[in-house]
Amino acid sequence: MDDRIWTTQAPTPGTTLTLRQCTLECLPPQGAALMSGALDRALACLAPGAPLLGLLETQPATGPFALRIARDRALLCTAAPLGQQGWHDGWALSAADDAYVALHVSGPAAADLQAACMAPYQASPSAMVKFAGQYALLSRSATGFIARVEAAHSAEIVHYLQMVADNI
């Protein structure tokens, strides 16, 4: 049979692509865990003082933070994998250190790329949105935005961002 050619490739962690009017950085993997239940207690236990961020809120430059997904669920982002999986009397934790790939887009065209990938939401308690057709967690950096996309989608989303940048 005629199999099609699949030319798109997943981005290599830690590399930066130069697109038209912006750069796309595939951030190196750190620590991440899905955390559900009593989020305040979980945070106090795992990363005291770490902020719980909603849609497109700015990540702290250093230190852990959590991206809220739902009423009772968030992705805790840390410098390194945590352990402590399972049930903790009121909250649950699952390691998701490599489940998401963080794509950092910065530069003059970053806003246009964002506009081409998601609805123009102003604010939301949940950082999870449809982004380039898939679900992703959106936060802001000092210079642009960061989309945490499921690892299996990263190849096609990077390809899509490249297409947008080429034609914007």
């Binding site: 049979m1 005629d2 050619i5 030319t7």
Partner: protein
């Protein structure tokens, strides 16, 4: 009724066409009573009236239409007719429709422009090809023309198909039905209306049913904006409005209503000679006699009774079309519209008695009602005239949801209607 023919056209041409009579008589006030009343002046309702008068000899029949005839899904579809189904029950139903369609222009003396140019359901993976083989075999066993087409055959027939190596979906072949095709949707409604009217059926437009009267568990009439009408036999053929009508007698149906969009491009000279459904994209397309591409795809995913489409489904359908035919990106979208389709869990229609004695429904056709119009009318007429099912409609009774004997084509074949 002036007979339509090349000759009458010529003779009327000489006389300035002054002799043409109204295609169907306009009844502005309903009579107080009818032998049978049909709610819904779409293809199914008008066909029902025609067959009641023609086959069953009922002379006092009324069709009540809340707007103008043929204005619902009959005039809002992509006009495909086919019987490429999986289950024997479905094949019996849809092939009855197709066989009636094949003689309909002559029967009604109204050219419905049935164009049996063939239809391909195109497959892209070995798994889809296996399902296509399952369907083609089912069709052959059920006595319908089904052919398992190779990629080479399909490419020869549809040369504009995307054959580049970076096409999202490579073409492997598919199921072909040569007798499938398209017909002129408005003509089906008008043709049935004209023929029914000639047999004495009253077609009453702008007539809204506001209530259903019963007595001792049997239908005895309807209330309308034009006054009450007495009848002991009531047929509902109102697609998405059927749940609301059923609710008047406390009956429920297994129906959710969705908007289904259809699209038309600017016209171009002939370049696509078949009806095509692509399993990969879910988009289907044909080219009308006028030269326009007529295409569609999946439902708008929000249940609704509003005849409007939204962007997400439009973008999906259009990108699907361009993925199938990259050259079509030269064309522009000219029109777009939406119909409200009555979707049943097993995607098969509901035909049979419902609620009080003497009331029958013909609904739940979902996205595929147009191709079934002659059969839907024929079977509902049988029910209204005899009070009992025809063997072809029996499996489609609403009792299948209680017995569990669903006729789930999508499930059985992996291919939606």
């Amino acid at each position: 009724m002036t007979r339509y023919s090349a000759l009458s056209l010529l003779s009327q041409g000489v006389r300035g066409h002054r002799g043409w009579r109204p295609a169907w008589a306009k009844t502005h006030r309903p009579k107080p009573a009818y032998d049978a009343v049909i709610v819904g002046g779409g293809g199914h309702g008008l066909a029902t009236a025609y067959y009641l008068a023609k086959t069953h000899g009922l002379s006092r029949v009324a069709v009540l239409e809340k707007g103008w005839i043929g204005g619902g899904n009959t005039g809002r579809n992509t006009t495909a007719v086919r019987s490429n189904y999986f289950y024997p029950e479905s094949v019996a139903l849809y092939d009855l429709a197709l066989r009636l369609y094949e003689g309909l222009s002559k029967e009604l003396n109204y050219n419905i422009m049935l164009s049996q140019r063939g239809m391909l359901i195109a497959a892209h993976t070995p798994a889809q090809m296996e399902i296509c083989a399952r369907i083609a075999n089912a069709m052959q066993l059920n006595g319908v023309d089904g052919h398992l087409m190779t990629a080479a055959e399909a490419k020869a027939r549809i040369p504009l198909l995307n054959q580049t190596r970076d096409a999202r979906f490579a073409l492997m072949g598919g199921v072909w039905q040569g007798r499938a095709g398209v017909a002129r949707h408005d003509a089906v409604a008008w043709g049935y209306a004209r023929a029914a009217s000639a047999l004495g059926v009253d077609i009453i437009e702008n007539c809204t049913v506001t209530g259903i009267e019963t007595q001792a568990g049997a239908v005895c009439g309807v209330q309308t904006n034009l006054g009450p009408i007495r009848t002991g036999r009531l047929g509902l053929a109102a697609a998405g409005a059927t749940p609301g009508l059923a609710a008047m007698v406390g009956a429920s149906l297994p129906i959710h209503t969705y908007a289904l969009q259809a699209f038309v491009s600017e016209p171009v000279k002939p370049m696509l000679d078949t009806v095509l459904l692509y399993l990969g994209t879910g988009t289907y397309v044909s080219q009308s006699d006028k030269g326009e591409l007529v295409f569609g795809g999946g439902l708008d995913r929000v249940p609704t009774h509003g005849q409007r489409g939204n962007l997400p489904a439009q973008e999906t359908v259009v990108s699907g079309l361009l993925e199938m035919f990259p050259a079509f990106a030269q064309l522009k979208l000219l029109r777009q519209w939406a119909g409200v389709v009555d979707v049943v869990p097993d995607s098969s229609p509901v035909i049979g008695p419902l609620g009080p004695k003497g009331m029958f429904v013909n609904c739940g056709w979902g996205t595929g009602g147009f191709k079934a119009i002659p059969a839907g009318g024929w079977l509902l007429a049988h029910l209204l005239a005899t009070g009992t099912h025809h063997t072809i409609s029996r499996p489609f009774d609403i009792d299948r949801f209680t017995t569990g004997r669903l006729i789930d084509e999508a499930a059985g074949s992996g291919i939606a209607h």
